[in-house]
Point group: C2
Amino acid sequence: MKSNSALKELSIASHRKLRGKIGIVSKAPLRSQNDLKIYYTPGVGAVAAYLATHKKEARDLTMKGNAVAVISDGSRVLGLGNIGPEAALPVMEGKAMIFKEFAGIDAFPIVLDTQDVGEIVKTIRYISPAFGAINLEDIAAPRCFEIEKQLQKILPLFVMHDDQHATAIAVLAGLINAFKVVKKNLKTSKIVVIGAGAAGSATAKLLVAYGARNVVVVDEKGILSAKRKGLNLYQKELAAMTNKKNVQGTLQGALLGADAMVGLSAPNIVKSGDVKRMAVKSIVFALANPVPEIMPQDAKVGGAFIVATGRSDFENQVNNALVFPGVFRGALDHRVKKITWDMKIRAAKVLASLVKKPTPRAIVPSVFDPRVVKALASVIQ
Amino acid sequence: MKSNSALKELSIASHRKLRGKIGIVSKAPLRSQNDLKIYYTPGVGAVAAYLATHKKEARDLTMKGNAVAVISDGSRVLGLGNIGPEAALPVMEGKAMIFKEFAGIDAFPIVLDTQDVGEIVKTIRYISPAFGAINLEDIAAPRCFEIEKQLQKILPLFVMHDDQHATAIAVLAGLINAFKVVKKNLKTSKIVVIGAGAAGSATAKLLVAYGARNVVVVDEKGILSAKRKGLNLYQKELAAMTNKKNVQGTLQGALLGADAMVGLSAPNIVKSGDVKRMAVKSIVFALANPVPEIMPQDAKVGGAFIVATGRSDFENQVNNALVFPGVFRGALDHRVKKITWDMKIRAAKVLASLVKKPTPRAIVPSVFDPRVVKALASVIQ
């Protein structure tokens, strides 16, 4: 593994050299007047006139049918926080590369110079006609919940906030196999989710929907409990769904005797000593990006039996990149409007099932496994 | 030449087969964990963090430096009128193909589900951070003037309404050479511009800026004159710049003795008999798309000496496709914020100069001439 600062330098230099990781490609040659006649004027006039009266066929005659807008307001980029639209762009381009290379989807990065819910919703509505689906990315909670909900109501398109649903699916798939490895029952084990933002809350909810009965969510103020004051609407809902015993306390308190922890929060907030408080054969998912809650070697020092991160340079990469290409492939191909709980559970199960014999070092398939996209697309319908 | 209906069918079938004329391409391979480390997480985190404090370098480290948003509200698509965003999409994709194939520019089609000036301006502002330039397309007058003006004021980007400026440059280039062929003086000849929309008014103004002293604009209500009632702000300005003698009357009246006519209006509104009223060695540019004001054979029956259309299937294609790739190449490369009158005149002259010996059948270079983009880009600075 390259040193951290060497990788940073290499990455910045590689981006500077490419000047953009994605580009536009023409799907037909433009080499003669005849090509122009067909694809530009006058031929395109017939297509435009036809679509004026057959609007629904835009998915068949234009880019729309295979196009996803990857949209961020830059308010919660990776674990880096609110760094704005320009800084979010290379991340969105990275998503677009992954969409293309793994699922053949044309993803168009759009970064927004507004962080107002109403303005974001209107902007996305206005630009929606060219796209077959909308992928919301790296938008801070609780704004992201409201934006997703409103767009799902007004747009005749698949709209999904990746950081919520794709992350939750990847985590559930990873936990299904991790619990198989440690021979414990996921549904009755204690699972601590660190982070109550987009990813943390969606993951906790999906675990509960799957049947997990002992999920505890912790945020920067401690354990999320219905008794805690000052909760917003979304936090109240989450507290009611998890932590049935209304336990209160700190992260360290929550980790006592926990079978698994799922970090979807901030860098370096978990120490080896915290991991030591967990149950035997503990499962540690430290998924903050690019710097996890605890580095794998430190988690192991604390006694973790299985460790996963969101990164590409450690084993067990539990990252939404494993999920979003296949989910959007399925949504576009089957013209799905909204992802349901049932679809998410089926997606997690099918993803887990691709690892025939899970081991501590291999609980999820590789993002390069060509079966992943197909399997996920098949259950999104 | 294929029959009209055969071409229409071929074009629709070709679009249906391609399912979109453009797509996204990844500029680097994603084949290994190492690739993901550099372009996705964790490496991209370093790029995002760097851009958070070096926003201006987004042009060097992301797609922004080579990216143009091609934006339409579908209110004035070709000569087809207000047919909406979905129907405008194949035209925008055609523009994107041309941008890529001729100028290596990554153009992203965006079609808007609003035709409100304020909402369009806001939407474009919000989505602007990913783009190095904004190309407005097929937006009806007078809305297009207001949108362009407001965006030029608020955005730190090159913003240009193609139908105005690129068309005007192509027409002026064509007329410079056409007048050379007929051995008349453009500046003192009578030039009738049909259409007072985006293209018509920008063309008339550029002709005046170039030095043409006898330009008359005609719209569907007849000759545009300062004496005519009910003119909007933009029409008043145009009337004051042209038609110094305040002539009133019909299109037929305007064409009497005209040396050139430039149609930027609607299909089939000029007859052979109308062309007969023009001066000897008349120049007829019938540029409405896809169906011109008069078909070339009918213009010739009326005695036209030089005929041009906007189409790819006749000689003398005077189309903004000849201009926008080079203009945007220059604007991106030289970080130009606004196109000036001087740049437009230099662009028209340099475009005309590429035809060493103009003839009645060859007044403009081919869009396939590789010198075109370079020559235009060199004067946009």
